[in-house]
Structures are given as structure tokens and as C-alpha cells.
């Protein structure tokens, strides 16, 4: 294969196809409610796939993913709200300018979230299993409390009047990008490093692998995409409060990953689709929805711990 052929291999083509498809989809779907569901779906896919990288592939059980999402949401909203008017001018700027600003804001949010991921990942290095879960939960709560107390970012009321820049194209585009990055990463030497760290950390260290690097990389990359998802969420709901990114939100994302099968990207995407559509379908019995979810979680662990959509052999975690 020539170098060009090799670089234009299937993951890249798939990404291109997905990006084109998402832009086309935006033009086709006009019903606001369907738009709403599709946008939520895209955001959930990004969240689930990024968490899957941390929990599933690298084996770091994180319960604070919503914290990273909130960092991305707040920072990107801050960029569009505070820097936007100055950069776009009085008339609000052209569509291109707005989209460029939005992209920059999302990146800023993602990078800040990645930084948060670094800050969370470093102390968590020594921890395993249960402890790691609780510490990441703690970090999620600390981030929430901090945002609730920062007055310039709205304090308790949060930020509102965030411009509605999110479209189905943006969310599906980023979802495709997230899947692409995660898949490529997992197939690379980094992916081997993740799996080795996950399987048996001590053996991996004994073999000379720098498990620290892999663990931190997983956290940082996972957090980056969670931040992007947060930015998309903020510009979709147009109003964000710190309390909307609490432990409950983290659990919702965790349920998606577990349902799909930890370490199984396709399964996780399917689970994200299921768990986005289910609340809408279950609207008549909305008050029983969470009871159903928690019951399902228990039954799943007892009967099919590899996840609902995992059709490979059970991986030993």
C-alpha cells in the first residue's frame, strides 16, 4: 500500500462520511422536537464514548465525568457570552464568524476540561477500584461547589442567555470525531498500554510500561471530550446551572457505558441511543423511569455483566 492509501484507510473515510452525513441530516430534520432528541443523542454519544475510554479501556472507574462536562460548559459559555459581543460586533456577526467563535469556545472549554482531567488524574494515580470511584465522585462534587460559588459565572443562577449555536451537525460531527479518536487511540500502541494497565497494572509496570502516562492520558482525553460535550450542551439548553452537573448526571453516563459493555465502543453507542430515546418513550411513566434504570443496573450485573450490546466473549476485567 502506498503511504497515501495507508493514510486514507477506513477510519478516516468513515469519519469523513460521518461528517458529511451529519451536515446533511441537519438540513433534513426540521421538527424542533426531533432536533432536540438528535442533539441530545449526539451529546450523549460523546459523553459515553469518552467515559468508555476512561472506565472501559483504561479501567479507571471514574464517577465524576459530569464535573468535566460542567467545566467545558461553563468555560465555553463564558467565551461566547463575554468575549462574543466584542469579537462579533454590534450586529452579531456573520454566520461564519459565529460558527468560528463557537468552535473556538468549544475548544477552549475542552482544553480547560482536559486540564481539570489532569488535576483529577494525578492524585488518583495511586488509587484502585472503589477508592478511585469515590475520589472521582468527590472531585465532581468539588467542581460543582466551586462553580456554584463563583459569582462572575452566575453563582447559583448559573449562566443563561447562552446563544443557541449548537446544531445537529455540530454534535454529530463531534460525536464522529470522538469515536474516531477513541478507536484510533485504542488501536495504537497507546491502546495496548491502556489494556495492559487495565489488565494487570503491576505486571505492566514490571514489563517497563509507564502506567502513569497511560492513566493520565486516558483521563485527559476523556475529560477533553466531556468538555466539548459540555460546551455543546450549554449552547443547546441556553441555560446552565452547576446543580445540573451533579452526581446524578455522572451516573447517567456511567449507566450508558455499563449497559453497552465497558470497553466496547459500538455497544456504548447503541446504549447511548437506547438511553436517549427511552426517556422520551417512557414519558407517560417518567416517575418510574429511574427506578427501572437502577433495577436494570442490578439485574444486568447479576445476569449479563458484560453489557447488553457486547457480543464478544466476556472480557476479564
Amino acid at each position: 500500500m502506498t503511504p497515501l492509501r495507508r493514510s486514507l484507510s477506513s477510519p478516516h473515510l468513515a469519519l469523513l462520511a460521518a461528517l458529511i452525513a451529519s451536515v446533511t441530516l441537519t438540513r433534513l430534520v426540521t421538527d424542533p422536537y426531533a432536533n432536540d432528541i438528535l442533539t441530545t443523542l449526539g451529546i450523549n454519544i460523546i459523553l459515553a464514548v469518552s467515559l468508555n475510554l476512561v472506565n472501559g479501556y483504561a479501567g479507571q472507574f471514574s464517577l465524576g465525568h459530569a464535573g468535566f462536562m460542567s467545566v467545558g460548559a461553563y468555560l465555553s459559555a463564558a467565551v461566547t457570552l463575554f468575549a462574543g459581543p466584542a469579537l462579533l460586533g454590534e450586529d452579531g456577526g456573520s454566520v461564519w464568524a459565529q460558527n468560528a467563535l463557537f468552535f473556538a469556545a468549544l475548544l477552549a472549554g475542552g482544553l480547560c476540561a482536559a486540564l481539570a482531567g489532569l488535576l483529577v488524574g494525578v492524585p488518583s494515580l495511586r488509587l484502585r477500584g472503589d477508592y478511585l470511584a469515590i475520589v472521582t465522585l468527590g472531585f465532581g462534587e468539588i467542581i460543582r461547589v466551586i462553580f456554584q460559588n463563583i459569582e462572575p459565572l452566575g453563582g447559583a443562577l448559573g449562566l443563561n442567555g447562552i446563544p443557541n449555536y449548537t446544531t445537529v451537525a455540530w454534535t454529530f460531527g463531534f460525536a464522529a470525531l470522538t469515536v474516531f479518536v477513541v478507536c484510533c487511540l485504542v488501536r495504537s500502541t497507546y491502546g495496548r498500554g491502556f489494556l495492559a494497565t487495565h489488565d494487570d497494572e503491576i505486571a505492566a509496570e514490571a514489563m517497563g510500561l509507564n502506567t502513569t502516562r497511560y492513566k493520565i492520558a486516558a483521563f485527559v482525553i476523556g475529560a477533553f471530550f466531556a468538555g466539548i460535550a459540555g460546551g455543546l450542551y450549554g449552547h443547546f439548553k441556553m441555560s446552565i446551572t452547576a446543580s445540573g452537573f451533579d452526581f446524578t448526571k455522572s451516573i447517567e453516563i456511567v449507566v450508558m457505558v455499563i449497559l453497552g459493555g465497558m470497553g466496547n465502543t459500538v455497544g456504548v453507542i447503541l446504549a447511548a441511543i437506547l438511553l436517549t430515546l427511552l426517556p422520551e418513550v417512557l414519558r407517560p411513566i417518567a416517575e418510574y423511569r429511574m427506578i427501572l434504570y437502577s433495577f436494570m443496573l442490578i439485574v444486568l450485573m447479576l445476569m449479563r455483566p458484560q453489557g447488553l450490546f457486547n457480543f464478544h466473549l466476556t472480557r476479564k476485567t
Binding site: 495511586r126 477500584g129 470511584a133 475520589v135 468527590g138 462534587e141 461547589v145 442490578i298 450485573m301 476485567t317
Partner: protein, 298 residues
């Protein structure tokens, strides 16, 4: 000065409650090496049971209050054993992560079931005055019999626990299983019975904690266990997880820190401070204050 002593009293009663819950976490971790996420919700069930029983038992009498407390403890012990039997025991051989997820599932199930309008409802309800309340004013200090009761009952329960763990056969069995489960089985200890008993004991303490908490703060709601549970977990880790006196010490320390931070200008950060403390402990002294450093053999 009176303000300081008043805060100290508040700290003691809060710390006593955290200690009770922390003991449950620590005991279960000792025998199963696993953090029971659902423990905080058993605490809540205790308070809800007390709310329910308080309606039928005469309020404001000593024997009424005590039977309420006992009733809640029994209900919680049974609940703890049920959860262990149905959700944790089948996963004894599974990877630890699966049990953790199941525990989260049980915790959520309890929380959302009680939030359902047909069961209890999400809005807070008043907790009946199950014990007679007397308030004394001593030199500017206000002493509530409820606060003293909390400290007293917690002390009695902790002494009783020490007795059970160090002076009875089942307690010895518990300690044996926590040191080395396989060796304990080899000398004839029935691991299932010991684990069930540990859960019963831990859950009973959580139930008592729930009643005392509701007595002190008079409002009961399905999510009331989340924060105290997490803070009690921090307390257990602070004292050294698996270490019983450590849990008590940890509880008192966390209660004191939280009370004094609450009275200062940083009061809204008091939840975050408990977590920040946890992270600091785990980074600098993972074994906790009274714990022993264990070397992991590969």
C-alpha cells in the same frame, strides 16, 4: 467562648452520627474488602422507619422512643442482610467492579423508590418527637436533650460494638475473616454467616444513625443519606478503613471540621472540604490515621 463551646457541642453530636455510619462502612470493608454504596440509603430507611413508627407509638415518651429506635435498627438489619443475600453474594466471585456497580444500583433503587410519590415522596417530612425533649439554658449555652441523647446513644452503641467484636465468638470470627478469609474458612468459620452478621450489625448501626440524625435535624427525605454517607465514608478512610476505633475517631474529626467551617465565612464550601480532605488523605496517608500500611504481595 460560649460560642466556641456551643459549636463544640454541635460538633460532638454531628461527629457521633458520622461515627455510627462510618462504623458500618468500615466493618463491611473489613470482611469483604468492598465499599457498600447502599449503606447511606439504609441510613435513610432507618429514619423513614422511625418516621413511620413514630406515628403509631406514643410520641415523647422514653419507652416509645426506645422502641422506635430498636424497631428501626431491626428493620435496617433485615434490609442489610437482604441486600447482601440478593445483590452481593451472587457476585462474590466476580470482579470487584461489578459489585461496586451493583451497590450503586441498589443505592439508586432505594433512593428513587422512596422518592416515588406513592411510597414516601421527594419532599421532606417532619420527624416526630419520639423522645421527650428538654432544653436547658446554662450560662448562655443551650443544651438540648436531643443532642445529648445522640451523643449518649452513639457512645453506648460503640461500646456494645467493641464488646461484640472483641469478646464474642462471632466477633472473633469477623476479625478472622477480615484478616484472611480463606484461612478462616479452613478453620471452620462459615463465611456466609459471618458476612450476613456483619451486614446486619453495620446496617443496624446505620439505622440508629438515621434515627438520631432525624431526631437532631427533624426532617426526613429520601436523599438525606447521600451527603452524610459520603462524609462518613471520608471519616472511615480518615481513621483507617477496616479499623473500628479509627472510624469513631474519623467521625468525630469530620464532624468537628464541618461544624467549625460551617460557622465561618466558608460555610458553603463545607461539602467540598470533606472531599478535599479525602483526596489529601488518600494521597499522603492512604492507610488513614490509625490504619496499618499493608504491603501488596504480587
Amino acid at each position: 467562648m460560649t460560642e466556641f463551646i456551643q459549636q463544640l457541642l454541635n460538633a460532638l453530636s454531628l461527629g457521633a452520627i458520622y461515627a455510627l455510619i462510618a462504623l458500618g462502612y468500615t466493618m463491611v470493608y473489613g470482611v469483604l474488602r468492598f465499599i457498600n454504596f447502599a449503606h447511606s440509603d439504609v441510613f435513610m430507611v432507618g429514619a423513614v422507619t422511625g418516621c413511620f413508627l413514630g406515628k403509631y407509638l406514643p410520641a415523647g415518651t422514653w419507652w416509645g422512643g426506645l422502641s422506635c429506635l430498636l424497631g428501626a435498627m431491626i428493620v435496617c438489619a433485615l434490609l442489610g442482610m437482604l441486600i447482601e443475600r440478593l445483590a452481593y453474594r451472587p457476585l462474590r466471585a466476580s470482579p470487584r467492579l461489578n459489585v461496586l456497580i451493583t451497590a450503586i444500583g441498589v443505592s439508586l433503587l432505594l433512593e428513587y423508590t422512596f422518592q416515588n410519590e406513592h411510597v414516601f415522596g421527594a419532599a421532606p417530612r417532619a420527624f416526630p418527637q419520639i423522645f421527650p425533649e428538654v432544653v436547658w439554658q446554662v450560662r448562655g449555652l443551650t443544651l438540648s436533650s436531643n443532642q445529648l441523647l445522640v451523643i449518649g446513644v452513639a457512645l453506648v452503641l460503640m461500646v456494645a460494638l467493641q464488646f461484640i467484636v472483641f469478646r464474642t465468638r462471632i466477633g472473633t470470627a469477623m476479625r478472622a475473616v477480615s484478616l484472611n478469609p480463606r484461612a478462616a474458612q479452613l478453620v471452620g468459620i462459615n463465611r456466609d454467616v459471618v458476612v450476613a452478621f456483619t451486614f446486619a450489625l453495620g446496617s443496624a448501626l446505620a439505622g440508629a444513625g438515621g434515627i438520631l440524625y432525624a431526631l437532631n435535624y427533624q426532617s426526613v427525605e429520601p436523599l438525606m443519606g447521600v451527603m452524610p454517607g459520603l462524609k462518613a465514608f471520608v471519616a472511615a478512610v480518615l481513621g483507617g478503613i477496616g479499623n473500628i476505633p479509627g472510624a469513631a475517631l474519623g467521625g468525630l474529626l469530620i464532624g468537628t471540621i464541618e461544624t467549625f467551617v460551617g460557622g465561618s465565612q466558608l460555610s458553603t464550601y463545607k461539602d467540598a472540604i470533606a472531599f478535599a480532605l479525602l483526596i489529601l488523605i488518600l494521597v499522603f496517608r492512604p492507610a488513614g490515621l490509625l490504619g496499618r500500611r499493608t504491603i501488596e504481595k504480587v
